[in-house]
Symmetry: C3
Subunit: 145 residues, 3 copies
């Protein structure tokens, strides 16, 4: 529950990179098992999901064409023994309208300027939670209901 | 004005928790008087406000049903002698449309993955500001107009 | 690519300040050449842009009237030898609707509560990139396509 930042990776992902694959490549190569992600940039094509709490399924949505990444926010933890990226995104169109969701594979970048904080401390691992259907952390509960 | 991070709390809030009460419980229990908050997750019901700069009143709005928390961002400082949470949220619906505002009590969580950075350094305290009507920090002004 | 936080500036910008000028004044005065910015607050008038990837031009848009700053996210690096601020913003209106873009001069604040992390480490400098037309970092590439 208490962590300290070991290092911050700051840099960019290139035109044409897949957002989720790119972030996953970095954290797996750098062996970051616990982290925080923040970024801005732009997409050429975006695929995001809304999690339906009733059916417990992710519903994917596509946003073709150039969009600003107005906020990208999320974390790195462990799933199936490997560093796993979980990020949500907010996208802006040519009229300033905003759309967003849980980032899925298939989101292609025009540019990305990203920060990844790596933490030292006890790992957090995901496994499927019965009540929500989500892959939540098996520890790290901060309050009771 | 210059601070260093003492520790970062990383963890989750459970299904059914009240977002603002949960964050407040953590910072009060952990005696965090100065901090930064960042999170993603989902709500089952959200209550947010728009501050009307003319009337100097918060206008509450409700968003019932499941929404993604696409960004939650804010801070911890001191108000009335106690740790006080101020956060803004962006919510995404099943069509990827986005809504948001200043988080009010009554926002119920489906899940939340949160980072709270605790800072060392001079405290910032809130008191009501005549010109805006907001509870702003009594110090920590970074520029003149 | 690997950085450590040297200090965090936490504080507020006043009613009437220009958002981009205010942030630029802080980073230039404090000689912050590499940093991360995060804020919440409100605007009295906002000017943001959408970057058209086809024409390689920023298209400005104005949002007059009071809006919540639901998220402000970005970075500090070097352009033309000076500290340079690049931030994206999400704005909420009185009905909770959200708009956003790349922040331009002319965005006037009602209030702003901001964090600026200053990093130690190799500088990142911007120069114009042929393929995108953007002023991207000349180093700090984190992956291949």
């Amino acid at each position: 529950m208490n962590y300290t930042v070991k290092r911050t990776i700051m840099g960019q992902l290139p035109l044409g990179a897949d957002l989720l694959e790119g972030l996953t490549e970095i954290v797996q190569r750098e062996k970051i098992r616990l982290g925080r992600i923040q970024a801005i940039g732009a997409t050429t094509h975006a695929v995001v999901a809304y999690y339906d709490q009733g059916t417990k399924r992710y519903n994917p949505m596509e946003f073709p064409g150039g969009m600003e990444i107005l906020s990208l926010s999320g974390n790195v933890s462990v799933r199936d023994g490997k560093p796993f990226v979980h990020v949500h995104v907010l996208l802006g169109d040519f009229q300033g309208r905003v759309f967003g969701g849980h980032v899925l594979p298939g989101t292609k970048l025009f540019a990305l300027e990203v920060f990844i904080d790596e933490f030292e401390g006890d790992p957090l691992s995901r496994s499927q939670d019965d009540r929500t259907g989500l892959f939540l952390w098996t520890s790290g509960q901060l309050t009771e209901v």
